[in-house]
Subunit: 384 residues, 4 copies
């Protein structure tokens, strides 16, 4: 392709955390050019943001509806839109851009219910669009190496999967202190029915699915709100039974003092076990039964092609969260540029999370809540 | 006291792991003298063991019954017996010695059922005996420091407690390979109905109780046997609801490849969180909400008296499992020597696990199995 | 500023490691636009590289001389050039661009001798140009926090500084295996007289200087070449005496099996000690004498403004090498954009390494070699 | 052997740190019986200590001279004496007991000069006595495993050895605060000319010699006293050239805030590298060039016989400092009991440090001081 992908953004105005992450991610490898945006419902904020980013004035839009309308008719209109608003707007926005034939990169979770996600899927499919969901932890090279170890059978038949994502930033009632991040993430009208299970539990769930490929058969959950007056859960204990017989658990919490973003996954098979931790992401601990634990480093020779493909710099020079995030954007770039150039493209190499992962994540939240509301009764995962 | 405590041992013949641990523990601080034993049902083994230990020939006994009988009538008979046999013999042996007025130190778990433990308690109480159960992890100085932090209120009201004890030594069917440890520990007739929940899950449960003082209100469990043909569970997922509103979980496994004795406990309160790991036991991670994590080291000035009392050497010189084990013995020594000397003794300083902890551990196993047999239904902990 | 800084690059063709690092660094925050380049002495390589990067054909140059000539006369010519060639070309290239009034960002070490660096400085000064040297480790937020702790006096008077930078990639004679990186870095004609002391020892030295501000008074060194036939040192033991009385050492090695890029610095003062490690760069260990070690995390509230200024994402989401590198570029951007806009600029906030650091690094290499050649005699640092 | 070894102790009265360590070490495996002592120059202290330890009154001696005299004439006299006084008394005491034919276990360093140590050796040899020096770190199982890896050639020809032993307990002038440990250890009349180099530097040096077997060819040192008024060094930078061409360094410090007993050794050969740290002693990091780092655990199957011989409990249950110390005592026991029983004994398995290690340690201290006094001139190690 002779040009960069033209991308627009909805959401991500001043003070939005995840918007600036997406912008760094799209810049990192030089594949995208941000040319349009509707960054905030407050147009002043949006204009200021757009100006700081060097956008043309006529491509900073008052509403995303206007943006979809106008960009879809320009010759040099955006190829793809990045949606980084609070959760309740994801699907409505996505739908409008999809109907205009614009591809979509959307922050997670996909929306408010599996139902609206399934409806969105119909539009995406009918328009033959790319839809990528930024479950960004799947972009870490050592996560991809973990997946390839499982796929190659190095672990043997899987038995136990333990995932956890504890944080502590909602230990006190931060939503009352003027912290915007806390406000919308604890407001069920904007974040959805799930609190910590939607915000971070879905990441843990998605990571299990991504690495192991296992499907959950039944789920039992006990979710709770520790901070008085909070409207959503801030701690979740979840037990899992996988199809094929493996067992597991997810613990996610936003009141676990001393944890920043301590996402961790451990996978045990008949022959080997692995462990990966987001806060130290360049390493994967791998133990063959009866042998010493090995510390496999990102960038080392023995890593799989799936890991090498998303490795920019040598071992010992740490890559982090932004690079992992950028990998999702760069994965999408490959398919998108082929599409634009009308070239053949082998989708089997795709690693980025899709709309199906989005629907799956919604079902996870719904099933967790259903089980918890039924005194932790085991719920069939697909029996909604 | 002018003399050492005279101690006898039942179990702990050649190749027994835990017997030699108990012997090191009783030697370490020089408070005990091992003078009698019935180390094995195989008298040849017992004689050889006793000879190696320098015992008089007439104090190496064919049966524990004979030992209880004769030692209780000698002027220089044993003050206390250490019981280190497989689980099914703990209570029968303890009863016989108790009836002869001999104090007891017993390996965990206490036996095969809460019922037999409750019966034993009656004898212990009527004879006014000391009964100590070697839940040895409670002996680690930093565990005691953790307890004192909770008791002092440094963590505030407790919210979440996550405990886990994964191992990997039963990943394959070791019980068929001639490994004695594996044989009896997977034989329900000798170890009890619980496999990994009895062998190590009880340690995790006991540690929660010891540090937090919290009582479990309800328990929900999903236990499983991964290794074909094994007669007991080798993996357990357990959710906990504590009285007062805290939540938690226990995961214990003996098929988690890469884990040796990876007992870990994390406790989160309103104001602070702590984390301790058995494989790195000289450190306690402590985080006050909003402040950097502190690495508190055993032996440092800021540790509590409860920790200092069981600290032998300065910070930076690691103590380990054997020292922790010895602390239980040395705790018992203090009360026992006072008793023998008919001196006043303030029991409030006692830290060693008692018969009540033994009964509690049995109930834990029984409730876990009951819940798991009822598709993980929440079970009232004291409703047996 | 209403436009991005226009940047050109010399060096960084296909397979060059550091060139692509610089390109990611300049993209990350969106401040620069790469518009011109002479990426290789092989013009085909250069053209291919430039095309992949989306450059206009007429701005991909055959020689850097032509590039300096033409870019300096275009209205939309480059503001700054990034020099990422082997070391021997740094100063010659820099001079030509400097003479055309183009600002410079240059990879380290600055060149082949302090003499040529001093000569370059004259040109830079006479033209009032910005010259930034990418000692990139100074860009890590926690390195900046370390510096601010020292400056604020939290450590008290400094006593001991231990720095080390071990690698293992030159354990065997990689320069004979076709590995380009190894070829030029072990060729004294291209890398300079220093092998591992120039390639990585200078980083350790620069980091000491950056964080502590201390000047070296005397230096004693024992450098050695372990791999037979290698033309430069691959291991260096260095002792340091600082002005003011502090002592220290630097160990750098490229044959230390098991070390990837294990740069580490420890600084001990009268009141406190700190430790930072490049492979785990989001954390700074800080110990006040008599208190527990604290683990200070990048992004946390207590970090200094100097650290916060170069922090993009919250604690617990790791940033790494590329972000640190980008911080140098973004530091330069601030001064450069002010210069272009003819605005006031407070240089006191500048953190990026300058030409003086380049000269200082050359003296370090020269003094190390001089001492080592004189059987480790102590050499006065400024007595060249 | 049918009886325990009878051991006496000189030094180790109330408040002495190392005396109680030796007593725990001799008790741990049940091979020794402490029956006599002269624990302090203050006879009241000595009596109290002896009584607490349950000694017969007539075997608590006023002076070590009397003790040597009387014990050597008793039928049940001590077989071996443990000397745990300040350094200046080691050799005088050892000589008196040696002349009476009593074996010796002596704390390190051996004394005040290589000359007195050489003189002592003559007596030891003429009397055919065992003399063990408690360089206790050689007793750690993973140190023994490290030695066996080097001996088996797994590392290939050795290149670089980095050892360090930083502490922080003398950061302030603790010797003026009434702390006995600090008083005598900083008093050259009692500790010898070396301060931190004698107290802990010798441990680092001894550990290098023990694991690698390499001899030092030349040594260059820069020692310093940071705390005003202190009479001995509290920081030492040392460079090493080994016979055969390897290079290395030792850093020891007692003013490095944040370090407790952070002894660490790293050894790099042509084929592999290893790393061991005293504060986490149950693990040895081992990296074959080009392969992932392995974490070898004490007690695991792959450890060498040398390690297994001194391993009491399974992997994952940490052993520590006291167990390592006890291993020296138990090593001595094996040879001593064979000697007493007049049995054959294969000395080639001995691992405990001998009088030659003591002499070597004295030469280390003397050479370090000599080099430092000569502005870090390289000193031939054996050219005294």
């Amino acid at each position: 392709m002779n040009r960069k992908i033209r991308i627009g953004m909805v959401g991500g105005g001043k003070d939005a955390f995840i918007g600036s992450v997406h912008r760094i991610a799209l810049r990192l490898d030089g594949y995208y050019e941000l040319v349009a945006g509707s960054f905030s419902s407050d147009f002043e904020n949006s204009k200021e943001t757009g100006n700081d980013l060097g956008l043309e004035n006529d491509r900073i839009y008052k509403t995303y509806q206007e943006m979809a309308e106008k960009e879809s008719t320009r010759v040099d209109g955006i190829d793809v839109v990045s949606i980084v608003t609070p959760n309740h707007l994801h699907v409505p926005i996505a739908k409008i851009f999809a109907e205009k034939g614009i591809h979509i990169i959307c922050d997670k979770p996909i929306g408010m219910s599996s139902e609206e996600a399934i409806n969105l899927k119909k539009v995406i499919e009918s328009k033959k669009l790319i839809f990528a969901l930024t479950h960004n932890y799947t972009g870490y090279p050592m996560v991809r190496h973990a997946r390839s170890l499982v796929q190659k059978g190095d672990l043997g038949s899987l038995r136990v999967i333990q995932a956890e994502y504890p944080q502590d930033w909602l230990t006190t009632k931060a939503e009352d202190s003027g912290l915007k991040q806390a406000e919308w993430r604890t407001d069920p009208n904007r974040s959805g029915a799930g609190g910590c299970i939607g915000d971070i539990g879905t990441h843990a769930y998605n990571l299990i699915r991504f690495i192991t490929g296992l499907e959950v058969d039944e789920i039992s959950a006990d979710i709770h709100t520790f901070v008085e007056g909070r409207k959503v859960d801030d701690n979740a204990q979840i037990m899992l039974r996988f199809k094929g017989g493996a067992k597991g658990s997810i613990w996610s919490s936003q009141v676990a003092v001393g944890n920043e973003n301590n996402l961790k996954i451990r996978i045990y098979g008949e022959n080997a076990g692995i462990e990966w931790r987001q806060e130290d992401p360049n390493y994967l601990s791998y133990t063959k039964f009866g042998s010493p634990a090995q510390n496999i480093t990102r960038g080392s020779n023995i890593t799989s092609d799936e890991a090498k493909n998303v490795t920019r710099i040598p071992q010992g020079h740490p890559e982090g969260y932004l690079e992992g995030f950028a990998n999702i954007y760069s994965d999408v770039y490959k398919e998108l540029s082929a599409k634009i150039d009308r070239q053949e493209y082998d989708k089997s190499n795709n690693c980025y999370p899709t709309i199906d992962d989005g629907i799956d994540g919604m079902k996870f939240i719904e099933n967790v809540i259903k089980s918890s509301n039924n005194n932790s009764k085991w719920i069939q995962f697909n029996s909604n």
